[in-house]
């Protein structure tokens, strides 16, 4: 029985993707810790990735899967740069509260 591939409808995947994305947005908006905000962004990216894969599978198109690789690559780079910025900010301010980091000038 090919339960997973045959029986789970596409809408379930999309709903999961939407739920994950919303969680990301909400986390981004309400969390105060910069690292959590950062993780929320990653969550949103992966929610989008899930949608890409789902549609690629549904329409037998490879483009969506290729796009996922691009997103992952950019996310990896962004994680590296973002974490570096976070460390720099923490060194300068001794805090990671988003509300306190509201000036460009250090």
């Amino acid at each position: 029985m090919n339960f997973l591939s045959q029986e789970v409808p596409i809408s379930w995947y999309l709903l999961l993707s939407a739920v994950l994305f919303s969680l990301g947005v909400i986390g981004f908006l309400i969390k105060r810790n910069l690292i959590t905000v950062f993780m929320s962004i990653e969550l949103m990216l992966n929610a989008v990735n899930l949608s890409f894969v789902t549609f690629a599978h549904e329409w037998h198109a490879v483009k969506g899967q290729i796009f996922v690789f691009f997103v992952m690559m950019v996310a990896a780079a962004e994680a590296a740069v973002g974490l570096a910025i976070i460390i720099a900010v923490f060194r300068a301010r001794a805090t990671l509260a988003v509300d306190r980091i509201d000036l460009m000038k250090l």
Partner: protein
């Protein structure tokens, strides 16, 4: 004459000196600055001499003049307008070049001694070299625009050198005055050039002459207007009525500068310009008449002021204005070669007078008031004897230089048809006054007893006395060439028939009259300033009104101040300054700035600096876009149709 004369070297050599001393002179040792400053004009003089040798030399083809040198790259090519950067060497420019570079070099030598202890030694010489550069460009110019470049350039150099002691307010103001007054003249020159371009389509002197010669229709009218515009330019540069007021103030500059720029060379540029464009004046008897009247009036006017000045340099300044008036008078009676002849001898004796005055001032420690001098004859023997040569020369005693040149002008004026007698008479009276004020200067400075015990004069160094001696020799012998030979030499350039002395008796009588008035002037001065010194004061008291009028220079400065300067300043301050600048332009700027500030105050609310508010706006925007795209679909699914054809559904 064959081969290349390399005329471009004549201006460029002093220019190199200007660049070297101007850029790095302050860091060079003094002997090197001196060497650069002296070698570059000397080399220029050598180039002039080699060119002159080709012209005067045996078998030289003087007929190959004018020799023209044009910058191969061209200069101005705009539409129909083609102007070359061209130099012309002909008899006229050759005489001028010899005077400028020769006398200029002598004054450079003199300056080495005079400026030895001054601050800004390298700056001084770089300006002096710059002046020679522009002056030679002016003289060599083949068209009016190149001449204008030199014309403006010498004005700049003059401004810089008048204001050389820029820490002194009076010097800085004198520089500005010279510059601004000259601008009025330059305005005339510019308008004249525009009119030349509009009517002749060219600024090249030779082409203008050709066009004027071809068509006899050019009489009066536009030619008169052009000539009068050029005359306005000439009165500015050559300090004639009504624009002479800057020259007496220009004496604030170092004395060698007064000798070179404000006596021997630059101020004669106006005379040279009229001689250079003489074809225009020849075609307009009216303009020529104006030139003659301006010259005669200035000569007499300045001479009367010179009578009562006490500053030794100011006497010489008014004397310069007066002598320039003679040259204009010469030009005005179409005796261009006589005017140029007087220009040349004047360059010798007036440079000498100034340099000797500088030597006197140097000797008495900067004092310029003649009333505090006196009895310097024994203390400064070389200065005294050279000055004496110059005084007798300018007074017009034979056989000194100015006797011949002044005589030539007066003779030409006398023969000049209607009104010639009046011009001659004015010239004669001026000659009397000239002798009077020059001998007054001579007696006050050198004769009698020392009037100021605290002055301990000492003779100047030989670097200053050497040029004095050479110039004294030139002042004595400079006129021996004779006007006939001189006019014949210049004839190809000034296009003038040689004045035939077919009335030798008349000429003799006129010369006799000139010498007689010179003698009379000497006698009056002798009586007033040697025999009975008290009489001069009594004379001043006897006619207080006249004396006051003269001592205050006819109140011309005050008159210009009240009629021109004050209204202009008021207009600038109130109308232009307050209404236009502060009101209109400032208001507009405030308005624009206010709009930007106001808009910024509103727009800055978006930029709260709060990351989460940005993100919330972003999310809300994304949600709005999402809704906008899905609502029609959802509605469609519910059976409701919206007519949104542009959506592509």
């Amino acid at each position: 004459m064959n081969g290349n004369l390399h005329l471009w070297l004549i201006p460029l050599l002093p220019f190199a000196g200007f660049l070297l001393n101007g850029l790095i002179g302050a860091r060079l040792p003094k002997w090197l600055v001196t060497t650069i400053a002296l070698v570059t004009p000397l080399a220029g003089f050598a180039v002039v001499l080699s060119a002159a040798r080709g012209i005067f030399g045996v078998g030289a083809a003087a007929g190959s003049l004018p020799y023209i040198e044009t910058c191969p790259m061209g200069w101005i090519n705009v539409g129909m307008l083609h102007i070359d950067f061209s130099f012309v060497l002909d008899q006229l420019s050759l005489v001028m070049l010899l005077v400028i570079t020769g006398v200029g070099f002598l004054i450079h030598i003199y300056s080495v001694g005079y400026m030895a202890h001054e601050e800004g030694y390298a700056r001084y010489f770089s300006f002096l070299n710059l002046f020679l550069f522009f002056m030679t460009v002016l003289v060599l110019a083949g068209n009016a625009l190149v001449m204008f470049v030199g014309w403006e350039g010498v004005g700049l150099a003059s401004y810089l050198l008048i204001g050389f002691y820029f820490r002194k307010d009076s010097a800085a103001n004198a520089g500005k005055k010279a510059f601004i007054v000259n601008r009025i003249g330059d305005f005339g020159f510019l308008i004249g050039m525009f009119l030349l371009l509009a009517n002749f389509g060219t600024l090249t002197f030779s082409e203008i002459a050709t066009k004027l010669g071809q068509d006899s229709g050019w009489q009066g009218g536009v030619v008169t207007v052009i000539a009068l515009c050029l005359l306005l330019g000439a009165t500015g540069k050559s300090a004639q009525l009504p624009l002479y007021i800057w020259l007496p103030d220009a004496m604030e500059g170092p004395t060698p500068v007064s000798a070179l720029i404000h006596a021997a060379t630059m101020v004669t540029a106006g005379v040279y310009m009229i001689a250079r464009t003489h074809v225009l004046f020849d075609h307009s008897p009216f303009a020529l008449g104006v030139v003659a009247i301006v010259g005669a009036a200035t000569a007499l006017f300045a001479a009367t002021i010179g009578l009562v000045q006490n500053d030794i340099k100011r006497v010489l300044a008014y004397s310069t204005i007066s002598q320039l008036g003679y040259m204009f008078l010469g030009c005005g009676v179409a005796a261009y070669s006589a005017a140029i002849f007087h220009l040349m001898t004047h360059a010798f004796f007036k440079a000498l007078l100034f340099l000797a005055a500088g030597s006197v001032i140097h000797a008495v420690g900067g004092e310029q008031d003649m009333r505090k001098m006196g009895g310097l004859r024994k203390k400064l023997p070389v200065t005294f004897w050279t000055m004496t040569a110059a005084v007798f020369a300018i007074a017009g005693f034979p056989p000194l230089a100015a006797f011949f040149s002044k005589d030539a002008i007066l003779y030409s004026a006398y023969l000049h048809g209607t009104g010639g007698m009046v011009l001659w008479f004015v010239g004669l009276v001026t000659a009397l006054l000239t002798a009077l004020y020059m001998f007054r200067l001579w007696y006050l400075t050198f004769m009698g007893e020392a009037r100021s015990p605290e002055i301990h004069p000492h003779e100047s160094p030989w670097s200053m006395l050497g040029p004095l001696v050479i110039l004294a020799l030139l002042s004595i012998g400079g006129g021996w060439i004779g006007i006939e030979r001189f006019a014949a030499f210049l004839a190809p350039a000034t296009g003038q028939r040689v004045a035939e002395s077919n009335t030798p008796h008349l000429e003799l009588i006129l010369s006799g009259a000139a010498v007689a008035v010179a003698l009379l002037g000497w006698l009056i001065a002798d009586r007033l300033y040697r025999q009975k010194p008290a009489q001069a004061a009594q004379l001043a008291e006897a006619a207080p009104g006249a004396y006051k009028l003269l001592a205050n220079k006819y109140y011309v400065d005050e008159m210009y101040g009240a009629t021109v300067v004050k209204p202009l300043l008021g207009f600038s301050r109130y109308v232009l300054g307050w209404v236009v600048d502060a009101g209109l332009l400032g208001g507009l700027a405030w308005l624009l700035g206010g709009v930007a500030v106001f808009a910024g105050a509103i727009l800055q609310r978006w930029q709260s600096g709060n990351l989460r508010s940005y993100a919330a706006w972003l999310a809300a925007g994304a949600a709005a876009v999402l809704l906008f795209m899905t609502v029609p679909t959802l509605l469609g699914a519910a059976g409701i149709t919206l007519n949104l054809h542009w959506m592509g559904h």
